[in-house]
C-alpha cells in the first residue's frame, strides 16, 4: 500500500512536470524553427554563393522543401525531431544528429564533471557555513563564494589556462581524449574546463544551501527533534538537510541551462570539439538546421534535467509539492 502511494506520488509529480515542460518544449522548438524564416538564410546562398540566379536558388530551396508552407515545414521537422532525426547540414549535407552525437560526449563529460564539482564543493561549503553560522568560518565561506560568483566562466577558464596549463604545465591546455582511451588522460583534459564551468554552480549551491539550512535550523521541528532527545548529527541529516535542500536543488535545475550555454565559451578556450563549439561554428557559417539541432538537443537536455530535479525534489520534500 505504501509502495503504491509512493508510486502514485512519483507519477503525479511526473505528470505535473510534464504538463509544464511539454508547452515549454513546443514553444522553444517553435521559436527555434522560426529562426530560419526570420534569418532569411538559405542553403542556396551557402551552396551556390552570392551570384546565384533566382531560378537556381528556387531549385535548391525546393530540394530542401523550403517552398512549402511554414507550418507544414514545422510539422515535418518536429516529427523528425521526435524520432531523433534533426535533418542534414546545409554546408556539407551530413546528418546533424550524428554530428551532434560526436560533440555531445565531450560536452556532457565536461558538464557532468562540472556539476559533480559544483555539487560536492558547493555542498561542503554551504553546509560548513550553515553549521558555523555567524562565525568567521561562515564569513570566510561567504566571502569566497561572493568572489567566485562574479567570475565569468571564460575569465576563470583563461586564468586556469594561464596558471595551471601554461605556467605550471600541470594540465593539457587544450584538446580532448575519450574515456575509452584511459581514465587519467580523459580526466586531465576535462578538469580545467569543468573547473571553469563549476565555480558558478559552486557559488549558487553553497549560497542556497547555506540559507536553506540556516532557515531550516530556525524551524520548530528542529526544536521538536531536540526535545525528543535526538542527537545533533541525526537532526542535521534527517531533519535539517532534508528540508533545507530544496532551494539548492531548485537552483541546480536553473543552473543547468547556464552550464550548457557556457560550454560555447569554455569549449572555445580549451579547444574542445564539443557541442557548444559546434553550435558556434554552425551559427557563424549560417548553417540553420545545424543550429536548430543544437538548440533542440540543449532544450531536451535542460528539460530532462529539470524533470529529474523535480522528481528528486518531490521525493525529498513531499510537502513542498502541494499546491504549487
Amino acid at each position: 500500500m505504501r509502495a503504491g502511494r509512493t508510486l502514485g506520488r512519483v507519477l503525479v509529480t511526473l505528470a505535473r512536470s510534464v504538463a509544464i515542460f511539454v508547452p515549454v518544449f513546443l514553444v522553444a522548438t517553435f521559436v527555434t524553427f522560426a529562426l530560419r524564416s526570420m534569418s532569411g538564410l538559405s542553403p542556396a546562398r551557402i551552396q551556390l554563393g552570392e551570384e546565384a540566379t533566382p531560378e537556381a536558388i528556387a531549385r535548391v530551396e525546393a530540394q530542401w522543401g523550403l517552398d512549402r508552407p511554414f507550418l507544414v515545414q514545422y510539422g515535418d521537422w518536429i516529427g523528425g525531431v521526435l524520432h531523433g532525426q534533426l535533418g542534414s547540414s546545409w554546408t556539407n549535407g551530413a546528418d546533424i544528429s550524428a554530428l551532434i552525437g560526436l560533440g555531445l560526449g565531450v560536452s556532457l563529460s565536461v558538464a557532468t564533471f562540472a556539476l559533480v564539482i559544483g555539487v560536492v564543493v558547493g555542498f561542503a561549503l554551504g553546509t560548513l557555513a550553515a553549521l558555523r553560522r555567524t562565525t568567521w568560518v561562515d564569513r570566510a565561506v561567504t566571502g569566497f563564494v561572493t568572489v567566485i560568483s562574479v567570475m565569468p566562466a571564460f575569465v576563470v577558464g583563461i586564468v586556469l589556462v594561464a596558471v595551471l596549463a601554461v605556467q605550471f604545465r600541470l594540465f593539457p591546455s587544450a584538446g580532448y581524449v575519450p574515456a575509452g582511451q584511459g581514465l587519467g588522460p580523459w580526466l586531465a583534459h576535462i578538469t580545467l574546463p569543468a573547473l571553469a564551468l563549476s565555480l558558478d554552480v559552486v557559488a549558487d549551491v553553497a549560497r542556497q544551501l547555506r540559507s536553506g539550512l540556516v532557515a531550516a535550523y530556525r524551524e520548530n521541528y528542529v526544536t521538536g527533534a531536540v526535545v525528543r532527545g535526538l542527537g545533533p548529527r541525526r537532526i542535521f541529516f534527517v531533519h535539517v538537510l532534508r528540508n533545507g535542500l530544496g532551494p539548492a536543488l531548485a537552483t541546480l535545475g536553473l543552473k543547468f541551462p547556464a552550464l550548457v550555454g557556457a560550454s560555447v565559451v569554455t569549449e572555445w578556450i580549451f579547444g574542445l570539439q564539443g557541442f557548444g563549439r559546434f553550435a558556434n561554428d554552425s551559427a557563424q557559417a549560417g548553417d540553420v538546421p545545424a543550429v536548430q539541432g543544437v538548440l533542440v538537443v540543449s532544450i531536451a537536455l535542460v528539460v530532462a534535467f529539470n524533470l529529474v530535479v523535480n522528481l528528486v525534489l518531490a521525493r525529498v520534500t513531499p510537502a513542498s509539492q502541494r499546491g504549487v
Partner: protein, 300 residues
Amino acid sequence: MTTVSEKLLTRAEESGTRGPAGPPGPAVPLLSLRDVRIADGGDGREIVHGVSFDLTPGKVVGIVGESGSGKTLTCRAALGILPDHFAITGGSVEIEGTDISALTPARWTALRGATIGAVFQDPASYLNPSLRIGRQIAEVVRVKKGLGRRAARERVLALLRAVHLRDPELVHDQYPHELSGGMLQRVLIAAAVAADPRILVADEATTALDVTVQAEILDLLADLRDRAGLALVVVSHDLAVVARLCDEVLVMRRGEVVEQGPTRRVLDDPRHAYTRLLISEHEQYGLEKFLGPAASKGEA
C-alpha cells in the same frame, strides 16, 4: 519499574482494568526550579525574575499568565532550549536531582525524550513536514530505546492508539500536512512520550485548537498522569486549562510570579489583583464548566 508508555499501552489495550498509579512515595522532585532568573544576553535585561516550584511524579504544575509574562521562557529553560542570547542568570534547575548547568550537550541529548519531554503550541510546525508520522515517532523509539525496525513499528502503532487516534495504520503512513490540528497534537504527544519520559512539559499545547478538541487533549494529558504517573508542567494563558488539570498553579506577570499555591486555593481565594482579574474575565465566559473535573479531583 514499569514505564510510562508500557502502562499507557497496557491501559489502552485492556481498556480500564487497572486503577490509577499508586501515590508516589516521599519523592525526590523530578523537576525542581529554585529562583530561576533569565536574562536577554543582548541587552542584559532580566526577563524572568525568579521562578520556583517542585514537580513530583504524578503531579501537575500549571503556569498561567499573559503572553510575554515569561512562562514559555521558564519552560524552555527547564528543557535547555532557551532561544539564542537568552540565558539563565540566577537560581538553579534540577532534573532528577541533577543541576542542568552541569550537563554536557551529550547528556542533555540523553536526558531529553527519556526523562523530560515536551509538546508545544502549533503542533504542525513541530513535526518534520517531509517525513511520514510513523517514521518520526519510530525515530524516537529506535534511537532512545534501541528497538529494531519491526518492533519500532509495533510500538509506534500502539502509541498512536494510546493517544486515541482513530486509524493508527493510516496515520502512520501520512504526512503532517494531511492531519488536523487536534490529530497533530496527539501525534506530538505520542512522540513526546515514546521514550518514556517522567516529565512532560505542555507549553500552550491546546491553545490553537478549538474548544472540544482542547478538552480532549486535556483529558489525554490527565489520562497520562493518572495511568503512568507522568508529571506535567502545563503552561497556558488560559486559566480554565490550568484549573482543569493542575494541582499547583503559578500566576506570572511580566516575569514575576505574582501568586503561587494549590489550584483550589488560588481560584477560590485569589490574593493578587492580577489573579482576580484573570478569574473575573473567565467568569464572564463560564469558568465553572471547566472547574468541574478539577474540583472533583480535589475532593477525591
